[in-house]
């Protein structure tokens, strides 16, 4: 790409570089009043310079923090860069956060200036204003509904860019920036503890963005749809850091509801989606296929079977027979091509998914269509890119090998440690948390447990605090097993036991919608969840799922001992109201083990059935007792792969 890394060490310098080199090429597109409007790189640079002058006049100084609250809009990104021009640090906040959640970041970073997208965001900031005495200026982009606001703090973005541009001043300010300066502060969502502000330097972000861009051969012809929240590190990387490194164009959708349409119009070449988005898309496709005519359904079924068999291999460049190649070609004409088009993925060269475990069937679905979907591993603290699956070596259950520049190692407890040029500088004003996360030698403690597979690909299995050991000392990763079970549409929740025991057993909650549908197709009458839970047919269905998981586990030498030997289907669905799940639907394993202690005992003492009597809380607040005889099922286990090979 011919960028001199030495001198272009900050984002503002990169922007000016692109304005000179490719001033006429699109930098940002935004759909406004139904038409895609383009900001070229030179327009982008002009806007940033004007805005930076305005901000400087309003008293933004080097080292100040500027909050940005809004959806993906060109002006949010302009403000990000304008703040950086002045040596200030942009702090993007989640636009869908309630006012309450915005107070902490603003107090913590002593934010003085904030840019808000519209009335909604301005109202939130005004609401917390009394508790945030440092906040003196709020600028809004969209004036709608704000005409009658008389608060002294509120002013429009338009006024801000009316300031006369002092080029010499801006150029000098940009030149003063160093790669080691802080470039952004992103707040972690803080599900477990209070939010922490992760400070990242220009150097860290630019380095990681560049390494990944080179690996995937991204250039200034690539196009990205900017549809995830700007306060999230992934969005920061894909819609700000990487375009600044490579000069590609980002497109801002019209609204959250139009993303699908906009994606089809834009045709991104580089795409990121968390598993839940991919799953929602697949569900939409499935539902529409069920409503399609018989011939179309037949075509879809036949060709998807072929794609499932050879699509992934073709994408990986592995040998495939001529007949299969021809069938896949036909499928591409009739099904895969049109489907990619509907999904807006016709032009996607590289697609990533990350954030949580992705089901192998879901993952393979996209790959079999010829979409180069890959997994990556990273976090806010690492400027995202730690591991990426390289083309041709994509597996559904690993996240690939380390990208260049990253060192990985494990503690004896299997915690993953990372050393990389992309590591964060610190948690803002939280030296204790910084010291806990980053040790003296510069290793970042991720809290994730995992190991390398035979090919040196990283496999993340669980959070370290949840990983245990079986009685024989082998690894026991309950969440990994539970996720594997939950990838089956029939299984809604699973709770695995095995820490300190000789084998693994599980509680299962089936998915009532999926199983009810399954039962109806078999003309099986039933009264409800509890009734289905006692049926032998349902036990067989669940047993089938478990045995498939066991077969999978047997192939992995590290986890072959974690095969599930016995299970029972719980008589009720686990519920947050009973304290069995957290509000974000994570199982509270310890609490469940205590509450259902007799059931766990029965799983291990060889009984065929177990009597259960339970207090249940109804939704209206009353409680009652429930008693039943629960069956316990056995599942077949498989000899570990190594042993098979020896045999």
């Amino acid at each position: 790409m011919g960028i001199d890394v030495g001198t272009l060490d900050t984002f503002p310098k990169l922007l000016m570089h692109h304005a000179r080199l490719r001033g006429g090429k699109p930098a940002i597109r935004e759909k406004d009043l139904g038409i895609w409007q383009t900001w070229t790189w030179s327009r982008f640079a002009d806007e940033v310079r004007a805005l930076a002058c305005g901000l400087a006049e309003q008293g933004v100084h080097r080292g100040d923090h500027v909050a940005l609250v809004g959806d993906n809009r060109p002006r949010i990104y302009a403000a990000m860069c304008a703040a950086q021009c002045l040596g200030a640090i942009p702090v993007p906040l989640y636009q869908d956060a309630v006012a309450e959640e915005m107070a902490f970041p603003i107090q913590n970073a002593q934010i003085t200036h904030a840019l808000a997208e519209d009335q909604e965001q301005v109202d939130k900031l005004l609401e917390i204003l009394p508790r945030c005495p440092t906040l003196k200026h709020i600028y809004y982009d969209d004036p709608r509904g704000l005409r009658n606001y008389t608060q002294a703090e509120v002013a429009s973005y338009e006024e801000l860019i009316q300031t006369k541009v002092d080029s010499a001043f801006i150029d000098a300010e940009i030149a003063r920036g160093r790669g080691s300066d802080s470039a952004a502060m992103l707040f972690t969502s803080g599900t477990t503890a209070a939010a922490k502000g992760v400070v990242l330097t220009h150097h860290a972000l630019i380095d990681r963005a560049r390494v990944a861009a080179e690996m995937e051969h991204l250039d200034d012809d690539d196009v990205v749809l900017a549809y995830l929240p700007p306060a999230w590190i992934g969005q920061y990387i894909f819609s700000y850091a990487q375009p600044f490194v490579t000069g590609y164009c980002i497109c801002c959708p019209e609204s959250a509801e139009t993303v699908m349409t906009d994606m089809r119009e834009v045709g991104p070449t580089y795409y990121f989606a968390p598993p839940r988005v991919l799953e929602a898309l697949l569900t939409q496709v499935s539902i529409r296929m069920e409503d399609a005519a018989a011939l179309k359904r037949w075509l879809y079924r036949r060709f998807m079977a072929i794609a499932g068999r050879v699509g992934g291999a073709l994408l990986d460049g592995k040998p495939v027979s001529m007949v299969d190649r021809f069938l896949y070609f036909l499928g591409n004409v009739f099904v895969y091509g049109p489907l990619r088009n509907v999904l807006g993925m016709s032009r996607v060269r590289v697609a990533y998914t990350a954030g949580e475990a992705i089901g192998p069937d879901l993952f393979k679905f996209y790959r079999s269509l010829g979409i180069n979907l890959k997994q990556l591993y990273g976090s806010t603290e690492t400027s995202v890119f730690v591991c990426i699956q390289p083309d041709g070596a994509v597996k559904p259950d690993t996240v690939g090998p380390a990208v260049p520049g990253v060192e990985l190692k494990f503690t004896p407890e299997r915690e993953l440690l990372i050393r990389s040029p992309g590591l964060f500088k610190e948690y803002y004003k939280n030296p204790q948390a910084t010291a806990e996360a980053k040790d003296a030698e510069g290793w970042f403690h991720t809290g994730d447990a995992g190991y390398f597979d035979q090919d040196g690909h990283l496999k993340i299995i669980d959070r370290v605090k949840d990983v245990g050991k079986l009685a024989d000392g082998t690894l026991f990763a309950p969440k990994y097993l539970e996720n594997k079970l939950k990838f089956f549409p029939y299984i809604r929740e699973a709770v695995c036991f095995g820490h300190g025991r000789d084998r693994v057993c599980a509680f299962i909650n089936f998915d009532i919608d999926a199983v009810a549908n399954w039962a109806e197709k078999r003309n099986m009458p039933y009264a409800g969840y509890t009734d289905l839970a006692s049926r032998d047919e349902v036990y067989d269905l669940v047993r089938g799922c478990i045995e498939r998981v066991n077969a999978d586990l047997a192939a992995d030498p590290e986890l072959a001992h974690s095969q599930i030997t016995r299970f029972l289907i719980l008589h009720k669905e686990l519920d947050a109201d009973d304290g069995e799940l957290t509000r974000t639907r994570k199982v509270r394993r310890r609490h469940i083990a205590e509450r259902y202690e007799p059931l766990v005992r029965a799983l291990y003492d060889g009984s065929r059935t177990v009597h259960v009597e339970a207090q249940v809380k109804y939704e209206d607040g009353r409680s009652g007792t429930f008693s039943a005889e629960l069956k316990i099922g056995d599942a077949k286990t498989f000899a570990p792969a190594a042993a098979q090979r020896a045999a």
Partner: protein
């Protein structure tokens, strides 16, 4: 809510009476509407609210009385005259073109503003094209204003009720009215849809400066968003004033709750 915002009287109705054969729908009703005002008309079923609205935009012709709109006096209105003078309305039972898209439906609201003749439009000549672009922009601004970008190309018949109501409001707005008549804009909506609609009604009033006359049954909505309320019962005006007065007016309470005889 704030009396200072509203201006001088733009519409006044004096002693209007309307009957259908022996049914006297309106009997000597007088009231006025000030500019930038949100004026509500309430009353029990059959009180004559919709009839009054229909008189205002010329669908019904009253037998007696006078209507004064923007310094012009009429014995009765004509729908075309009403529309060209800047009166637009929505209907109690949605009257959109079900098979057409949202965009096209709102575009029909621009009809009176189009100057090109049929031939120019059919041949897609320069002036027609330029005109359509300008109108399309105006329509897109309304789409943006009402936050319905995601259904721009969806046929109206496929939309849920609440959204159809919003599209109908959009079509009325497309005529850039000075006076907008809304016939039960929130009927049949759930709470969330009602809140959305209230916000849009207030935004229209604030952003475009449109004067609004609305019929509504939800008292919470009426008391919250209107500046003045007119109450009808059996075709007669029984009260007229700001929401607080109306709430405590004995004749209004009697009309709604009935009186013990």
């Amino acid at each position: 809510m704030n009396g200072t915002r509203t201006g001088e009287v733009v519409l006044s109705v004096q002693d209007v009476s309307l009957s259908f054969g022996g049914v006297r729908a309106l009997q000597g009703v007088s009231f006025d509407v000030r500019s930038h005002e949100v004026r509500a008309i309430i009353g029990p079923n059959g009180a004559g609210k919709s009839s009054l609205l229909n008189v205002l935009n010329g669908v019904y012709h009253p037998q007696e009385g006078k209507i004064r709109f923007r310094d012009k006096e009429f014995a009765d209105m004509d729908p075309h005259v009403a529309a060209s003078m800047g009166i637009a309305r929505t209907f109690q039972n949605i009257a959109l073109f079900k098979g057409m898209t949202v965009l096209d439906n709102i575009m029909t609201g621009r009809n009176l503003k189009m100057g090109c003749n049929f031939l120019q439009q059919a041949l897609w000549l320069g002036p027609a094209r330029r005109e359509e672009l300008a109108h399309r922009r105006a329509v897109e601004e309304i789409i943006d204003f009402l936050e319905i970008q995601h259904i721009r190309r969806t046929p109206v018949g496929r939309l849920p009720y609440g959204l159809q109501k919003r599209v109908e409001l959009g079509r009325a707005l497309a005529a850039e009215p000075q006076l907008l008549l809304l016939d039960e804009p929130m009927a049949g909506m759930n709470l969330e849809e009602k809140q959305d609609m209230c916000r849009f009604v207030l935004d229209v009033n604030d952003h475009y400066g449109t004067t609004l006359v609305l019929i509504e049954h939800d008292m919470g909505v009426v008391m919250d968003i209107s500046d003045r309320v007119l109450v009808l019962d059996y075709g007669r005006k029984i009260a007229d004033g700001i929401p607080d007065e109306i709430k405590n007016d004995k004749s209004v309470i009697d009309a709604y709750l009935g009186v013990a005889h």
